[in-house]
């Protein structure tokens, strides 16, 4: 193309380099741009420190004098000043954040922080004087300087934080452990190591200009190691009965407390780890169930150390950077078969239950059996696990491809157990004393026997296998359990939580996970719920931000908005038995005294959601309020679904299997929503939360609240 233009005697146009304007045209351009910048400034209310018009006039004068070079320089500065002035309000948050960070840096004693704060103060003054370009440049400079200090600053903060936790142990040792000045004492070498480490590692760092931040971690670890050696040596000393041993015991008690404090952050981090593999889940379970106390201080110290080691192992196992390719897709797919895989692993590891080593041995033994479903599963699982634990970047991609085969192998490994469980459920109505023989049907069982058969079945079937049974089989088991008039009702004043029928009922509920299709349906509706409320995002944002300040009437408006959006999204009727959905009043106990404990309750009798006027949590916490309203309104939803199940067959609103979801889930709600079906917290708190109606409310409340809160912050 350019060759053709050259041949024609024309030069091609190049982007970004317009040909120089003729002098008059250049003057027009300068004057136009100056006028435009001035207009923009005027419209935005920027007077540039009272110099806006003066600056424009100077440009015009220089242009009039045909000094285009100076005029252009002034123009570019003028335009930049206006542009920076326009964006300055949006940079005020950056200024505040940078100032806050610099102030924190100052707290660590970093001398550069003073300098940064001065620069930021100058930036602020420059902006107030209308010198926006200078203000922006100063802010950018301070941010850059701060960013350079951040890694060092973090090291110092970590150091100060960790040393703050080690200091009580040191103080305790100084107060109790002899040997510092006694050359003949057995602990002298350990004290020397502590002293040497302390000399190189001040307890808190107050000046990072004189201390190399990168060395702090190494120094701290040296000190912590020396302190550990000293305390362990002292703890191991066999002292004679008397004052020395008493002092050692006192030290041990304080050391346990200080050691727990030292590891408190580690424990808190470990406690909230989200396990992503079977191994991580195992580690987390081990960590959470480790014994807390000890009969002696020595045992207690040992247990705290062991717990810390486990926490570190767990945290190391989950530590990683950015998500790897296919990581999310893998976890999404794995979560759908994790229950099956876990059950297959547990089944393969039987009969060992005592330790991980026993389990691994049992699995190894199964793997050696020739060509069995168990050995095939172990082989598949071993391949899968080795890839997952390889730490190669493509491990999730490879594992994702292996999931279908793993699922098949796990299902095959569980098939015998599952078949046995299905057979057991299929014979609930048979007389156990006269089992079926060839060509002769079993005798029908009495209602007592059916109930006992159901109890025996829940005791026989492994919980993991029970969970895997189809929903209708679990319902059959529950029906059989109630063949004799239902499990005994639970009496709050006469707890009988260990009654076999109630234990069996809780076991069936525990196996009744929410119907997957219902969960998916609710997930979709949750988005509709959020979309509905986000139509008036400003109002919801204001409610969130001002929640504790709102009047009761204003809060009720928000309650109703949330409830209505929830009903609309899920497609069920509002609670309005008494003409209004919310009954806000002082609640009372059975003896007439004011109920200060209950915060909210759905009342199916009056079809209202009761809110206790005494609830300071609901009136002060917006997040918890959404959770509570959705939780209680979910009970309303369940009640409306059950009402639809109970409608006459000829009623067109009757809920049937043709509308599934929510039909299957509604059957579970109905089975739970009976006088015999309740599980109270007093009977068994875990059982209460896992029963279908509460499982649903406790799951959907926080998930719905989280979805809305994220949308409000987006």
């Amino acid at each position: 193309m350019s060759g053709l233009l050259n041949a024609l005697g024309l030069k091609p146009k190049t982007k970004g380099t317009p040909p120089p304007l003729l002098p008059d045209a250049q003057a027009q351009s300068i004057l136009f741009r100056a006028g435009k910048a001035s207009s923009k400034a005027r419209e935005a209310g920027l007077d540039l420190g009272g110099k806006r018009d003066t600056l424009r006039k100077e440009i015009e004068d220089l242009t009039g004098a045909k000094d285009y070079a100076k005029a252009t320089t002034k123009l570019v500065a003028f335009e930049a000043q206006v542009d920076n002035g326009l964006v300055w309000p949006s940079r005020l948050q950056e200024l505040a954040d940078t100032r806050a960070q610099a102030q924190q840096l100052l707290r660590t004693g970093d001398g550069k922080a003073d300098q940064m704060l001065n620069v930021l103060a100058t930036a602020d003054r420059e902006a107030q004087a209308g010198h926006y370009t200078s203000a922006c440049q100063l802010l950018d400079g301070a941010k850059t300087a701060l960013a350079k200090r951040l890694p060092e600053w973090r090291l110092v903060r970590v150091h100060n934080c960790e040393m703050g936790k080690l200091k009580p142990r040191l103080d305790n040792a100084i107060a109790a452990i002899p040997g510092r000045s006694d050359n003949r004492h057995a602990l002298h070498p350990q004290w020397q190591a502590v002293d040497a480490a302390l000399a190189g590692s001040p307890v808190t760092v107050t000046d990072t200009n004189t201390i190399a931040a990168k060395d702090l971690e190494a120094r701290r670890q040296t000190f912590a190691g020396a302190l550990d050696q000293l305390t362990k040596a002292y703890g191991a000393m066999q002292l004679p009965n008397g004052p020395q041993q008493t002092a050692q015991t006192e030290w041990g008690k304080k050391e346990a407390s200080a050691l727990r404090e030292q590891y408190s952050t580690l424990f808190q981090k470990a406690k909230y780890v989200q396990p992503r593999t079977g191994d991580q889940e195992e580690l987390l379970n081990e960590f959470l169930t480790m014994p807390q106390g000890g009969a002696t201080w020595a045992e207690l110290l040992g247990r705290i150390d062991a717990k810390a080691a486990k926490a570190e192992q767990l945290l190391r196992s989950v530590q990683r950077a950015e998500p790897l390719p296919d990581e999310k897709a893998y976890f999404r797919a794995y979560s759908k078969i994790s229950g099956l895989v876990k059950a297959a692993i547990a089944e393969t590891a039987k009969p060992a239950k005592t330790s991980m080593a026993d389990m691994m041995k049992a699995i190894d033994d199964k793997a050696k059996q020739p060509d069995t479903p168990a050995s095939k599963f172990v082989a598949q699982w071993a391949t899968f696990s080795s890839i997952l634990e390889s730490w190669n970047d493509d491990r999730y991609t490879k594992c994702l491809a292996l999931l279908p085969a793993l699922k098949l192998a796990a299902a095959a490994a569980m098939k015998a157990k599952q078949d046995a469980a299905l057979e057991l459920v299929g014979r609930l109505n048979e007389d156990p004393n006269f089992p079926p023989v060839e060509d002769a049907p079993a005798l029908p069982a009495t209602s007592d026997q059916i109930e006992q058969n159901a109890i025996a079945a829940t005791q026989t079937i492994d919980p993991a296998v029970l969970k895997m049974l189809p929903s209708d089989k679990k319902m059959e088991l529950l029906t059989a359990l109630r063949a004799n008039g239902g499990p005994p009702p639970f009496d709050e004043n006469n707890p009988n939580a260990d009654d076999p029928a109630r234990v069996a009922q809780r076991a069936i509920y525990a196996a009744m996970d929410l119907d997957e299709r219902f969960v998916e349906m609710e997930k979709t509706a949750r988005q509709a719920f959020v979309d509905e409320l986000m139509k008036d995002k400003a109002a919801m944002t204001k409610a969130r931000d001002d929640w504790p300040l709102l009047s009761e009437a204003e809060r009720v408006v928000v309650f109703e908005k949330i409830m209505r959006a929830h009903c609309k999204a899920m497609g069920f009727a509002e609670p309005k038995g008494t003409g209004k959905p919310f009954d806000i009043q002082l609640m009372h106990n059975a003896d007439g005294s004011i109920d200060k404990a209950t915060d909210a309750q759905y009342n199916p009798g009056t079809d209202t959601i009761k809110i206790n006027k005494n609830s300071t949590s609901i009136s002060s916490d917006f997040e918890l309020m959404i959770d509570t309203i959705v939780h209680e309104n979910s009970h309303n939803y369940q009640w409306k679904l059950i009402a639809r199940l109970n409608k006459p067959d000829n009623d067109k609103d009757k809920l049937t299997s043709a509308e599934d979801p929510p039909y299957t889930q509604a059957l579970m709600f109905a089975a739970n929503w009976t006088n015999e079906g309740w599980v109270t917290g007093k009977e068994n708190y875990a059982g209460y939360k896992k029963a279908p109606i509460e499982d649903h409310a406790w799951t959907t409340g926080p998930e719905t609240a989280r979805k809305l809160l994220k949308a409000l912050s987006s």
Binding site: R157, G164, E322, A597, T598, A600, E623, A705
Partner: protein
């Protein structure tokens, strides 16, 4: 030079995906001895969101959690358990609260 107490803990802040429970490291926060969270680093594009959340939880004098019905209350009732700022269990309550309502893990 200030002799302010050192921060009680430094946490990485992970955001948990609602769909697949995968986590993404999005920030770093100081948890001070008086129970306040301060954003100290992380992804710039998530800083505003985290600052917003921290401001909100820092303003709470206590962290409340829904629990089951109190003794004697009817079915479907809920009560709450609150932990005031400064109490020993406050950090634990705060971690649970951030996970539950914001999908954020301090780890």
């Amino acid at each position: 030079m200030s002799d302010a107490a050192p921060p009680a803990a430094i946490f990485d802040v992970y955001e948990i995906d609602d769909d697949d429970a995968s986590e993404t490291l999005i920030g770093e926060a100081d948890y001070s001895a008086d129970g306040m969270l301060t954003l100290t680093g992380g992804q710039p594009e998530r800083a505003e969101y985290l600052r917003d959340v921290f401001t909100r939880v820092n303003a709470k004098p206590m962290i409340s959690e829904l629990v089951g019905p109190p003794k004697g209350a009817g079915q479907f009732a809920v009560s709450t358990k609150s932990v005031a700022r400064g109490e020993a269990e406050f950090l634990d309550a705060l971690q649970g609260y951030l996970m539950k309502y914001y999908g954020l893990r301090l780890g």
